[in-house]
């Protein structure tokens, strides 16, 4: 079974996944690309039922191969979803055809398939139809958020998302909406910080003809547009006290009046608010209404900044490289260990948005296959950074990991628990790393 045949060599040279089946739906050949996409080694796949290997949404009930066997006609570019090697939903495009021997008798069928995940991701970016599966993270604090997300989405309660600029508040809001029973209607996004107060008021609540000089006819507000859907009020901390009072009324009584109207309108709208400010502190300073704060703070999600989930940086870098390769039609394969060490050592005041910009910038400068420290901007890889101070002696990823952990430990006064917390890893992971890298922790009595 392990013997590689000439046919296997030919099939392995094809970049699309290819497998063949006999009349009993058992796999008779399986190429390398198929191994990569499905995560099933050829040796395990041969002889298995194709549905157990491909794990697609059409296998039970709408099988493409069964259709081809029944009609004798090939199928082309049918998009289906599988569970891929990473345990994620992945869209693939499949084509099927019959296999015949020299006498024209059917001896089986062949299925070719192509991973279209990247195209799908770009489509989602354009359509903004994000689900929580699109949030890239392996951080334990993010996992805790993922765990409550379905319940939050289901509850229809008001949600307050707090997090620094660029941490993905809108992505979370969209994910909550797309998990909620209101997902079939588009969410309405309003950036409260981007508009002057009077404009924001008419945008949110709409106006009636004649309400002011240029109001020639009725205009529905965003609350009206978000009827039976979700409204996302970004930068809620920037709203003026007068508008805060009107928003409070919407939250309390579920009604509002468009400008110039004498009649109240009911608002069947789910509200998700977000801010990068400390609203509680604003309440204490008298800048934000306490009653409104408690109305919107029914369920609060605190998004950690990127510097507190640094283990996600390699995943995010990989994601952005793939996305920009596709968008800009470039063939950059990855990032060097030195450049990654620079990215890991940086603090990202602009969070994930800043990381994305850094990778986009490196794509402009990078003429080779790998992103190098010289392609990164100065604050990340300039004088005084990890790259500048230590990379000359660092030849392996292990050296860089040791330097990175030593820096983090030193910064936290050699407190391992605090360091683990800052790095967003479990303390036992840090202890294991310290041991395996042979790092020396100074004795507190000496330091």
């Amino acid at each position: 079974m392990n013997e590689i045949t000439g046919q296997d060599i030919i099939l392995d040279s094809i970049t699309d996944g290819v497998f063949t089946v006999d009349h009993d739906w058992r796999i008779t050949s399986f190429n390398r690309a198929a191994e990569e996409i499905t995560g099933v080694p050829r040796t395990d796949a041969i002889g298995q039922l194709c549905k157990d290997v491909l794990k697609a949404d059409i296998c039970e009930g709408n099988c493409a191969l069964r259709q081809t066997f029944a009609t004798g006609k090939p199928l082309r570019d049918r998009v289906v979803t599988i569970i891929n090697a990473e345990g994620e939903h992945a869209p693939i495009s499949i084509s099927t055809a019959l296999l015949r021997d020299a006498d024209g008798r059917t001896i089986g069928a062949v299925e070719t398939f192509r991973d279209t995940s990247l195209i799908e991701k770009l489509r989602k970016k354009i359509e903004q139809k994000y689900t929580f599966e699109d949030i890239i993270s392996r951080n334990h604090r993010m996992y805790e958020l993922f765990d409550v997300l379905p319940d939050v989405a289901d509850s229809l309660s008001t949600v307050l998302i707090q997090g620094e600029s660029g941490t993905g508040k809108e992505l979370f809001a969209r994910a909550i909406h797309n998990l909620s029973p209101r997902k079939n209607r588009p969410p309405v996004i309003v950036n409260c910080g981007a508009m002057p107060d009077t404009l924001l008021e008419s945008e949110l609540f709409g106006y009636k003809a004649g309400a002011f000089t240029d109001a020639k006819r009725d205009k529905p507000g965003r609350f009206k547009l978000a009827e039976r859907s979700t409204i996302f009020l970004d930068e809620i901390g920037d709203v003026s006290p007068a508008l805060q009072a009107r928003l409070l009324r919407v939250l309390q009584e579920k009604t509002y009046e468009p400008l110039g109207s004498v009649k109240s309108e009911r608002a069947d709208v789910r509200i998700i608010a977000a801010t990068n400010r400390d609203l509680f502190e604003m309440v204490r300073q008298g800048k934000f209404r306490e009653d409104l704060y408690y109305r919107i703070n029914v369920m609060r999600l605190e998004l950690p900044p990127l510097r507190e989930r640094k283990e996600d940086i390699p995943l995010l870098v990989d994601h952005f490289i793939k996305a920009f390769c596709s968008l800009q039609n470039k063939a950059i394969e990855g990032i060097t260990d030195e450049a990654l060490a620079c990215l890991m050592a940086y603090d990202y005041p602009g969070n994930i948005r800043e990381l994305e910009n850094i990778i986009e910038r490196s794509f402009i400068l990078c003429k080779s296959k790998m992103i190098m420290p010289s392609h990164l901007p100065e604050p990340v890889c300039g004088p005084g950074t990890a790259h500048d101070t230590g990379s000359a002696d660092m030849t392996t990823f292990r050296d860089m990991e040791a330097a990175f952990l030593t820096n983090a430990l030193r910064k936290n006064g050699w407190n391992r628990l605090q360091t683990a917390r800052e790095l967003g890893i479990h303390k036992s992971t840090l202890f294991r790393k310290i041991k395996s890298l042979g790092l020396k922790i100074p004795d507190k009595r000496q330091s």
Partner: protein
């Protein structure tokens, strides 16, 4: 106690995320007291998890499952034993008798770094497959 299995015809459905039908088994001390079938067609991941919770499911035996759905099920406090295959009755008997680790019940290929792959290598055969065992679930 209630156990659930996504089924297709008389077999365990290959992928939980795409399964249309859920077999619910009420059992106690290895004895089955009742069975029923629930329709899952057209439901989202969150709705599937909510349904499992409403039904009071404690254990879920299933085929392949995506990482996000797996996490949501675990977060709901349901023990999940994924990457199984076979006739539904055979899988159920194997679970109740503690023989679920027979090679014939395992789907080929398990997503990297999760599912039975990591946990199983360190466990003895039959260690976790009976009712009331494997309280911690599989490693992720």
């Amino acid at each position: 106690m209630k156990l659930a299995m996504p089924v297709w015809n008389d077999s365990l459905s290959t992928v939980l995320d795409f399964a249309d039908c859920l077999l619910i088994v009420d059992y106690e001390s290895g004895t089955i007291h009742g069975r029923s079938v629930v329709d899952l067609a057209g439901t989202t991941m969150a709705e599937r998890v909510a349904r499992l919770r409403e039904l009071g499911i404690r254990v879920l035996l299933c085929g392949a499952v995506s990482r996000p759905l797996d996490r949501m099920i675990r977060a709901a406090g349901i023990e999940i034993i994924p990457f199984l295959r076979g006739r539904a009755d055979d899988v159920l008997d194997a679970y109740l008798s503690g023989h679920l680790l027979e090679p014939g019940f395992m789907l080929p290929g398990c997503p990297r770094g999760y599912g039975p792959g990591r946990g199983m290598g360190r466990r003895k055969r039959g260690d976790f497959s009976g009712p009331g065992r494997n309280k911690k679930g599989w490693n992720i």
